[in-house]
Structure formats: structure tokens, C-alpha cells
């Protein structure tokens, strides 16, 4: 007996093959990109220019490739930060706050006398990681001890961190030379050294190293195994004797540390100082990267590269076509939406019901 009104029906599919998964994600991506192209063309960009700015730019010259890589460096850190937290089923929406906290500590360290030059960068990096960790510690503890929703607490702390930053920049740390609201410039010893290819700096190999380490931990280590169990079923993990609190806290603190490092990578690698808005947009991009990479670290590097490309392309769109910077943000959101929706086709099939008679 078929339903006479509606010829299509949704049927759950128990286990989709890897090909179906790939096809669904690609389908979502293609649809998202198509919508994005339509948006850009609608905003007055010529289709041929899109090809130039977003596709050919990467191949055009080693210099433009380097600028994309450089743009992607902090994104790699925030992407890895997001995926570690998501692996522990912890929604870290406070990456930007943790970036601010990390960069504040790193900048505070630049103001300390008496640290030998060769040690300055490592100490700054360490400080930034600790700052990020400290900023996520409160939401983590509140969630693990009292069950307070971390989505809201991490997000609220973004605003607290931002106001703390503004206080520093308009108060104690105001540039003594220009009077502008940004901190004094870092010295040469406090800047991430360039690798001699465009502005690409030490952050790139560091990100790759960290991604490899995380990939190994997740796939091969005992901790990674336990983390996967906690991700899949926290209740059963607890009943089996896994110390869920410890596992989650470890992953979440590591997430905060990576976000803090991302703040350091921007301040010591891009801006060479702290500004009011050095962190803007990196938090959401991190979430997007982790989501599109399905929480896989190596894949996250690749996706970070693509988002870097999008940002570099977006900047030249802004210059040549007066396309607002928010377009890049909108495109990212569209991609998340279409890929998330495409997931439906991994778990379900649409089948055509034949309108046959009963019996």
C-alpha cells in the first residue's frame, strides 16, 4: 500500500559506505560554492575574476601561494583547537576569547625585562598556551562539575576577554609613541622567524608538527582510544571505568592551549603587536574547519588552507570590487549550512515509492 499523496519517501540507511559519505560532503560543498558564486556575482563581481582571484591565484606565483599559506597559519591552529574540543563533545565557541588571553600573556611577556633574546619566543609561546588554557578552564570546570552549558559560557567569556583587551589597549598598553590603541611593537626577537618564502613563518611547520602529533595520538595511543569512546558514548564510558572527567578536561585544556597559541601566531607572526581586532573571525573559521574536516587533524590543515585561500581572495575582492569583508564570513556560513544539510543524505535515502495498488 503506497502513500497516494507523496511519491518520495525518506528511508534511514544503516551504514553508508565511504563513497556515499564523500559524495554527500562533496555535493554539499559544490552546492555551497555555487551559492557563494551566485552571491558574489550578484554583488557585482565578474565570473572570470572569481576564477582569477580564488583559483588561479594559488598557482599564479610562489608569492601568492605563500600569502595563502601565511593566511592559513592561524587558521590551522584554531581548526585544531576546535577539533580537539569537539572530539571531547565540548562545544568550544570561545576560541577568540582564548586567542585574546593567549596573546595578552605573550604580549605581557614582551614587556618583561631580563629574558634573553633566544628564549623570548619559546617563553611567549608557552605563556600564550597557558593563557588560552586558563581562559577555557573555567567553562570546562563548570561543565564537568556543575553541568553548566559550555556553549554559552565560552561565548560569554569572549566578550569579557574583548573588554579586558580594550581596557589594556586604551589604558596601560596604549602605544606610547603614537597614542593609538595598540600595544608597542614586538622586537625582532619576539617575532616568528620567516622561512624565506613570502611571509610564511615558523608557525607553519609548528602547525604541521602538532597536527601530526594529534593524528598519531588519536589513532594509536591509549588516550586517543579512550577519547574516541568518550566521544561516542560518555555514559557508557563512565560505566566502563574510563575517567571521563580527566579525558575531557585533558582534551579541552589542549584545545584552549592551541587557541592561545593561535593568538600568539597572529600577534607574533602577523601584526607584531596586539590590536583591537587581530582575532576577529578566526574562532568561527576554526569551528568551520573542524566541522568540514570531520574532526580529522590532517584534513583540518587542508581545509585551513582552503579557508586561507578564501580569505586572501576575499581581501582582493574587497580592494578591487568593494565587496565587504563580511562576504567571506557569509560564504563560510553558507558552506557549513550546505555541508551540514548534505549529511542527511549519508544517513538517509530518498526513495521513489511506486504508486501501486494494495495487495
Amino acid at each position: 500500500m503506497a502513500d497516494a499523496r507523496f511519491p518520495l519517501a525518506i528511508r534511514p540507511r544503516p551504514e553508508a559506505g565511504p563513497l556515499a559519505r564523500l559524495a554527500a560532503v562533496l555535493g554539499g560543498l559544490v552546492l555551497g560554492l555555487a551559492i557563494s558564486v551566485a552571491l558574489l556575482v550578484g554583488a557585482g563581481v565578474e565570473p572570470s575574476a572569481l576564477l582569477d582571484e580564488f583559483v588561479l591565484v594559488f598557482l599564479a606565483s610562489p608569492q601568492s601561494a605563500a600569502s595563502v599559506l601565511f593566511q592559513a597559519e592561524p587558521l590551522m591552529f584554531t581548526g585544531l583547537a576546535a577539533l580537539l574540543a569537539f572530539r571531547a563533545r565540548f562545544w568550544n565557541i570561545g576560541i577568540e576569547g582564548q586567542m585574546i588571553a593567549g596573546a595578552i600573556i605573550a604580549t605581557a611577556i614582551t614587556l618583561l625585562p631580563g629574558i634573553p633574546d633566544p628564549l623570548r619566543l619559546p617563553v611567549m609561546a608557552l605563556g600564550a598556551a597557558i593563557g588560552g588554557m586558563a581562559w577555557i578552564a573555567l567553562p570546562a570546570l563548570l561543565r564537568l562539575r556543575l553541568g553548566v552549558n559550555e556553549i554559552i559560557t565560552t561565548l560569554l567569556l569572549n566578550y569579557v576577554a574583548l573588554n579586558g583587551l580594550l581596557w589594556l589597549l586604551y589604558g596601560p598598553w596604549k602605544d606610547p609613541v603614537s597614542g593609538f590603541p595598540y600595544s608597542a611593537e614586538y622586537t625582532a626577537a619576539e617575532r616568528l622567524p620567516s622561512l624565506g618564502w613570502g611571509r610564511v613563518d615558523l608557525a607553519l611547520p609548528l602547525a604541521i608538527l602538532i597536527a601530526l602529533a594529534i593524528a598519531f595520538l588519536l589513532a594509536r595511543s591509549r588516550f586517543g582510544f579512550l577519547l574516541r569512546f568518550v566521544e561516542a558514548n560518555p555514559a557508557a564510558s563512565g560505566a566502563l571505568g574510563i575517567d571521563v572527567t580527566k579525558v575531557v578536561l585533558t582534551a579541552v585544556l589542549a584545545s584552549g592551549a592551541l587557541a592561545g597559541l593561535a593568538g600568539f601566531v597572529v600577534s607574533a607572526g602577523v601584526e607584531y603587536r596586539m590590536t583591537q581586532s587581530f582575532f576577529v573571525g578566526y574562532g568561527f573559521s576554526g569551528i568551520l574547519i573542524a566541522f568540514l574536516a570531520r574532526n580529522r587533524p590532517i584534513l583540518a590543515l587542508v581545509v585551513a588552507l582552503l579557508v586561507g585561500l578564501l580569505m586572501v581572495g576575499g581581501q582582493s575582492m574587497q580592494v578591487f570590487y568593494q565587496i565587504p569583508g563580511s562576504m567571506v564570513q557569509l560564504i563560510q556560513a553558507v558552506l557549513v549550512i550546505t555541508v551540514a544539510a548534505s549529511d542527511f543524505f549519508v544517513g538517509h535515502r530518498i526513495v521513489l515509492q511506486r504508486a501501486e495498488a494494495a495487495g
Partner: protein, 504 residues
């Protein structure tokens, strides 16, 4: 009596097929019920009884087949359409909003138009109906706070208030004590005498023999036969249900050893309610099975959680060979030789999205049997493969396949394989055969006896009295969070049943 005459049938289902995600759940199933009769639909778990009745209640749309109500072919495109045809179903898992009162639940189901006037009208009508049937129900308390038997009465009143003339009851006695069940079945008989067509879905042969006018047996998604139960012997019915003879359990081989696990004064309170566990104590010796019987919701889950360490007791001690573990975390208990098989295996004992291999190996990983920092994945897979073979876990095509794809019985076997892999000293099991078919149940029971015979102390908590009686060396009864009675083997079923309902 001519059993085949279609003229008098209130509801007939003919040649019903239904598949879920490609797996057939019903194959050409046929069934009919008349006014003034109680027609039992008998079969073991997974035979398709509930699926067939969900088709009759409009919840599932059949892939093929015909429904007739009072002789007229119908298409039911939802529960509402079924209700319009005067079909009412009381599901095994009640379809009640726990935060609503009985009145509000019935208002919702009856699609009352005006809230204020509807509430008065429904209260009056349902109160009258409840009185007529001898069905006392509090109408103004949230149904979540009512007992299971009371919630069931609300469900039946809901169906009757909607004017149902065809009433389907899915396993109504499964959640009741023997005594409550008997009272319910007597009430149902009265309903049938007043003209209602009653379908009694059950897996209990006893209910069928004593209370049904006709019985239809289902096996493997098909209806096997329809007959007068008085014309069939218990053995013949069993054979029809199972399809083959299940071996009877072997007698026990050892005598209990020394006292191993001693609980004293275990108590747990809810935030602002009555105690969930109230001064519970028991002594469990090596090589014995202690059965904890009782109607569900009398503290069994809390007892299992407290003994296994998932939940901390407010007071009391739990000594394993003298060492008090009452405050010890789960990991410590497991290190001392605890194995736990919780009632809800798919959510409490497994990670369905992970592989069969991972779900087996997690026990060993926690004992650092596969390495302390880096893991030996080859060894993990080999161990899992051996366990799957040894415990006869079926449906495993690859060790890397998702554990959620296993059937209930095979998932349970996998959990048992993991829990027994370290030769446990104390085994805590809760409703180990709930939802399993007879063959899987027999296999699970055999494993529990084996563990006992190897010298493990087994705490068996189950709401299924048959299971308790089949396995236990001693039986204790829980009621309202307390252990109210204890019986040495051989246990008298009547006495245990009385203790279960005696709330003292």
C-alpha cells in the same frame, strides 16, 4: 465455532509485508479479531507482534497488504486515522506526556477544542468510566509520578474515552506483578463482554491459556497459525512459538564458597523525594547467584548503579573480601574483579558508533592489556575475533563494522564476552535477557551459570520472575527501595510473587 468466517471480524489484516531499511519485519502476516473476544497475539521477542499491531494502529504503513475495519477496506495514514476507525492501542512504552496530568493527556489524545470546557468535560467522563471499570486513577497528578499500573490504566482509559471498539494491548502484563496482571486481565475480560474487540499481544503462554478466546502465533515476522488455545497443549504452543526445542538448563555443579561481597545499609536519596535505596544489605558468596526480584522502578536500577560504582551511595558499605568499596570509583572496582552488564546495554555498555572490535577491546585497553601508551591494534583485533567466535556473536561481517548494527541478542553476547574476558570475581547483571529471543536468552543464561560455576559471585537483578527463578540460588525481593524478603532455593513462585506486591 468456525474460526475462518470473516463476516464477524472487527479488524482484519491480510498479507501484510513491512521492511525496515531493507530488513523484512513482517512477511505476509494475517490477523483478525472480533467483537466480544480476547484474541491473543503470541510470539517471542522480535517475532513481529508489535510491528503488526503498529500497522493496525496506523503508526507504520505496510509495504503491502490489506486492512479491513468492520469489513471495510481502509488506509490508515496515521494514528489519528486509526482512532477515527475506533482502533485504540496501548503501547508497551506508554504514549503519555509525563509532565501532564491524566486529564491533560486524555484531552490531548481526544483533540479537545476548548481547553477550559474540555478539561471539565473530560474529567467528568473519564472519572465515570474509571468508576464503571473499577479502575482507580488519580486524574490531577502528573502521570510521571504515577505507578506503572496506574499509567497503564490511564492509557486504557484514554483509548476507551476516544470510543475505541477495537483495543490493542501490547504486552500489558510485562510491567505488572502477577497479581496486578491477573486483575488487569479480568478487567479486559469484562471489557470484551461489553462488546469490545480486544487484541492481547503477549509472549506469556500462561496469559494466553488462561485468558484468551483465540490465539494467533507469530514467528519470524509471519503468522504461523490461529487456534483455540484450549485445544492446544502447552508443549505444542511452545513448539509453535519457538519453532524448535530449546535445551533445558543443566543442574548446578558446585556449592557456594566463602562470603565475597557484603553490602550493608546502602541508601540513596533523590534530591527532594523519598529514598530510592533504603538501607539495603545483602551477602553474596563465591559461586552463587543471588536473584533480586521486584516490580520495575523499586530501586533496582539504583542498586545496580551503586554496586557497580556509577552512582555513589549516600550511606552504607560494600565490602569485597573485607575491603570497603562503597566510595571507590568504577575503575577501582573493575580492577578488583567486577564485571557489569547493565539493563540498557546499547546506551550503558557500548558505543554504538564504534566498531565491534573497539567495543570488545575497551575492557582490555582499560586494564592496559594492549599497551600503556601506544596500543597494539593487531592484538586488539585478534582478541575481539576470538571472543566473537567463542561467544557466538552473529551478524559480524567485519570486526570494524559499527556495533550498533548488532541485534539486541548479539550485542548482549558481545558485552558478556568483554565483561567475562578477565575472569571476574563479582558479576552484576541487570535484566540480562530483556528483549532477547529464546535462543539468545538461553545462551546468556548459560554464560551466567558458567561464571557462577567458575566461582564468581553473581548479583542478578531482573524484573522477569521467570528469569530469576530459572537462575538464582537464592532470591531477595525489592520493594520501594528496600529488600523486603529473602528466599533460599528452591524458591516458591507464589511466595515471591506475594512479597513483590506486599508493600508492607
Amino acid at each position: 465455532m468456525d474460526l475462518q468466517t470473516p463476516m464477524t471480524e472487527a479488524l482484519t489484516l491480510t498479507g501484510i509485508d513491512k521492511a525496515f531499511a531493507g530488513f523484512p519485519a513482517l512477511r505476509a502476516a494475517s490477523f483478525g479479531v472480533r467483537r466480544r473476544e480476547v484474541h491473543a497475539l503470541l510470539g517471542e521477542n522480535g517475532a513481529g507482534k508489535t510491528t503488526l499491531m503498529n500497522v493496525a494502529a496506523g503508526l507504520y504503513r505496510p509495504d503491502r497488504g490489506e486492512l479491513r475495519v468492520f469489513g471495510e477496506p481502509v488506509v490508515l495514514d496515521g494514528p489519528r486515522a486509526a482512532r477515527k476507525r475506533l482502533i485504540g492501542m496501548v503501547h508497551q512504552h506508554f504514549k503519555l506526556v509525563p509532565t501532564f496530568t491524566a486529564t491533560e493527556n486524555i484531552m490531548l489524545a481526544l483533540e479537545v477544542q476548548n481547553f477550559a470546557a474540555g478539561r471539565l468535560e473530560i474529567r467528568r467522563r473519564v472519572g465515570q468510566l474509571a468508576e464503571d471499570l473499577g479502575f482507580p486513577v488519580p486524574l490531577d497528578r502528573p502521570v510521571g509520578t504515577l505507578s506503572i499500573a496506574e499509567q497503564q490504566r490511564v492509557e486504557i482509559l484514554k483509548a476507551l474515552a476516544a470510543g475505541s471498539e477495537i483495543l490493542i494491548l501490547d504486552e500489558p502484563t510485562a510491567v505488572l506483578t502477577d497479581e496486578e496482571g491477573a486483575r488487569l486481565l479480568a478487567n479486559i475480560r469484562r471489557l470484551a463482554e461489553r462488546g469490545t474487540a480486544v487484541v492481547l499481544v503477549t509472549h506469556k503462554l500462561r496469559d494466553v491459556i488462561a485468558h484468551a478466546d483465540r490465539v494467533t502465533v507469530m514467528r519470524g515476522g509471519a503468522t504461523v497459525t490461529t487456534a483455540d488455545p484450549r485445544a492446544l497443549s502447552l508443549d505444542l504452543l511452545t513448539a509453535l512459538v519457538v519453532g524448535e526445542v530449546v535445551a533445558t538448563p543443566t543442574a548446578r555443579q558446585t556449592t557456594p564458597g566463602a562470603e565475597l561481597l557484603v553490602a550493608r545499609g546502602l541508601s540513596v536519596s533523590a534530591a527532594d523525594g523519598p529514598p530510592l535505596l533504603d538501607d539495603v544489605g545483602f551477602t553474596l558468596r563465591a559461586g552463587e547467584i543471588l536473584g533480586i526480584a521486584g516490580v520495575g522502578g523499586n530501586g533496582q536500577t539504583e542498586l545496580v548503579d551503586v554496586v557497580s560504582g556509577v552512582r555513589r551511595a549516600d550511606r552504607g558499605s560494600l565490602r569485597l573480601a573485607g575491603e570497603d568499596l562503597a566510595a571507590a570509583p568504577v575503575a577501582t572496582r573493575r580492577a578488583r574483579g567486577f564485571a557489569v552488564v547493565p539493563a540498557d546495554r546499547k546506551t550503558q555498555a557500548m558505543a554504538g558508533d564504534l566498531s565491534v572490535s573497539d567495543n570488545y577491546a575497551v575492557g582490555g585497553v582499560l586494564r592496559t592489556a594492549f599497551g600503556g601508551a601506544a596500543l597494539d591494534h593487531g592484538a586488539m583485533r585478534r582478541a575481539a575475533g576470538e571472543a566473537v567466535a567463542a561467544f557466538d556473536v552473529q551478524g559480524v561481517h567485519r570486526l570494524g563494522q559499527k556495533a550498533s548494527l548488532l541485534s539486541g541478542g548479539n550485542a548482549q553476547k558481545l558485552v558478556l564476552a568483554r565483561e567475562f574476558s578477565a575472569d571476574p570475581k563479582v558479576v552484576v547483571v541487570h535484566s540480562p535477557s530483556r528483549g532477547l529471543d529464546m535462543r539468545a536468552m538461553a545462551a546468556v543464561h548459560a554464560r551466567l551459570r558458567e561464571a557462577r560455576d567458575r566461582g564468581a559471585a553473581v548479583l542478578l537483578v531482573s524484573e522477569d520472575l521467570d528469569e530469576i527463578l530459572a537462575l538464582s540460588d537464592r532470591v531477595a525481593v525489592m520493594s520501594r527501595g528496600r529488600i523486603t524478603a529473602e528466599f533460599p532455593a528452591p524458591v516458591d513462585r507464589q511466595a515471591v510473587g506475594r512479597a513483590m506486591v506486599d508493600h508492607g
